[in-house]
């Protein structure tokens, strides 16, 4: 047990001296990196604006109250659109994610050397490009509107759903699959009787979880023109209609809280 002696009194310590020094060294490096990054950001910041910001924030907050409640009448359709973008996008993503997940899972992939890396690449690239960037591309392609939002959310969610799903497939109990195989089942039968029942709970959980995230993401897609409540937010901000902005923020908060509650309930019921 590490201990130190001082004036003849032995006292207990959590770590030995070399361990402690190593730790301090890591902290030193970490802090140095942080300070370096901070300096570079600070160079690009106009500090006059930052000093002025508390006053600006109070000013903005004053303009935001009270929220313009009459505007709510115009918000119902955007809210409906937002929910549709999230729901249909999630459905689209799941449809595409299922085959990809089966190709990416080590135990079901048709070819480990050829198909699996492709599936993994699709997963990573879909995950690393944000839905807003997908929406930006799709709006130039198929025009602004809800449809672009649905596709953007769908493309973005493929990676997430497929990754979690293929991990669930890799974790299944192989004995059950072997038992089905021993009855002389074909490949498709093995899939539907041996593998699918085992991953069904994970699958349902993943879909609901992603739907919840997508509600949050679809609230901002309107900023680049892909439909939903973000459109109203963008136009309210650019016309400086702050009382509308605060109402929209409240609506977003409400939608997200409700969707989180629904998803928690469903996941609780499944697991």
């Amino acid at each position: 047990m590490p201990s130190s002696e001082q004036n003849g009194i032995k006292s207990w310590q959590l770590r030995t001296r070399p361990e402690q020094l190593l730790r301090w060294f890591f902290w030193l490096i970490g802090i140095a990196i942080f300070l370096f990054c901070w300096r570079l950001i600070s160079e690009k910041t106009i500090w006059m604006f930052v000093e002025d910001s508390p006053r600006q924030a109070i000013d903005m907050a004053e303009r935001m109250v009270p929220p313009k409640w009459e505007y709510m009448g115009k918000l119902w359709i955007p809210v409906w659109d937002t929910i549709n973008i999230a729901t249909l996008g999630t459905m689209l993503a799941i449809l595409i994610a299922i085959p990809i997940a089966f190709c990416a899972a080590r135990n079901t992939s048709p070819s480990l050397t050829f198909v699996r890396p492709i599936a993994l690449f699709i997963i990573v690239s879909s995950r690393s490009i944000n839905s807003l960037i997908w929406a930006l591309m799709l709006v130039t392609l198929i025009g602004p509107g809800v449809f672009a939002g649905v596709i953007a959310i769908g493309l973005r969610s493929i990676g997430f759903c497929a990754k979690l799903l293929y991990e669930a497939i890799e974790e299944i109990d192989p004995n059950q699959v072997e038992a089905i195989e021993a009855t002389g089942a074909s490949k498709a039968q093995k899939l539907s009787y041996g593998i699918v029942p085992q991953i069904m709970p994970a699958f349902a959980g993943i879909s609901v979880f992603r739907w919840d995230i997508n509600i949050r993401e679809s609230t901002v897609l309107g900023l680049v023109g892909a439909g939903g409540i973000g459109l109203q937010l963008d136009s309210s901000i650019s016309t400086l209609a702050w009382t509308q902005v605060s109402l929209i923020l409240i609506v977003i908060l409400g939608t997200v809280v409700v969707s989180e509650w629904v998803s928690a309930k469903i996941r609780h019921a499944i697991i």
Binding site: I33, S53, A57, L132, M137, I252, L253
Partner: protein
């Protein structure tokens, strides 16, 4: 011995209650009809888009790394700085909030207050936060840094609070029984228990923050997103493709290294 009867077995459905199952199916069908009915899809525009997408994709290839290389490098650096600083600051800020939001550590009013902070900062996507911070602090990486920090508080504080709530109370009691002060108690009983998972989550958040930093740029928060938006606005799709590839590459690199560190720590 009874003679074997001809029986066939059926796979048990996922939702066992038939009424619930069929209600769900019907509700889903009604929802889909309603959703597609209200969605305005301009199919002419989409069809146009399909032919257009060929030209669009052709414009993406080959990715042009060279002509905008300087601004790509600058944008990537800016994103990386933003990701690092916002992760560090966000985690530092989220520690007190997370401690306050753990039910077994704090008092009821503080608990509710801290949970409130977490809920609000988790609700709004970083992009919305960034819009407001750009208004407050002006264009540039500082606004993006603030937005990502606030987002980090919501994410990290919540997980920290949950981890503290799940910790082993026996160890905590043992330390308390030695007569440790509150800070010592925190340092010797709580912190060692949550640390391994928290380091892993910190790495994960760094990964998320880098990804998000690509988006806050679209609303003026600096970073590679600003470079990307500029190249889209200029119709330089080959540069945009290069930027996207660079983002994918770095995200993969960050993801693998953060996964490696997480494995090492746990």
């Amino acid at each position: 011995m009874t003679t074997p009867t001809q029986r066939s077995w059926k796979l048990q459905p996922f939702i066992k209650n038939p009424t619930l199952r069929w209600t769900l199916w019907v509700l889903t069908a009604i929802y889909l009809v309603l959703a597609f009915g209200t969605m305005e899809i301009n199919w002419d525009r989409v069809a146009e888009g399909v032919t257009r997408s060929q030209r669009f994709l052709a414009a993406f290839f080959p990715p042009d790394f060279i002509s905008r290389w300087d601004s790509i490098v600058e944008g990537i650096y800016e994103s990386l700085w933003m990701a690092v600083t916002s992760t560090v600051v966000g985690i530092l800020l989220s520690i007190p909030v997370g401690l306050g939001a753990a039910r077994n550590l704090s008092f009821r009013p503080i608990y509710l207050f801290c949970r409130g902070i977490l809920a609000v900062s988790r609700t709004f996507p970083e992009v919305i936060l960034a819009i407001f911070f750009v208004k407050l602090f002006g264009f540039g990486p500082f606004a993006g840094f603030m937005a990502l920090s606030i987002g980090t508080i919501g994410f990290y504080g919540k997980l920290l609070a949950e981890d503290i709530e799940d910790m082993d109370p026996v160890q905590a009691e043992a330390i308390r029984a030695t007569g440790a002060s509150w800070l010592q108690w925190l340092n010797y009983s709580v912190q060692p228990q949550v640390m391994p998972r928290m380091i892993g989550l910190g790495m994960y958040r760094l990964d998320i923050n880098f990804r998000e930093s690509a988006v806050v740029g679209i609303v003026g928060g600096g970073g590679i997103g600003a470079t990307l938006l500029t190249s889209f606005d200029r119709y330089e799709f080959d540069s945009a493709a290069a930027i996207l590839l660079v983002i994918i590459g770095i995200v993969m690199l960050v993801e693998y290294s953060s996964g490696y560190i997480r494995k090492k720590v746990q």
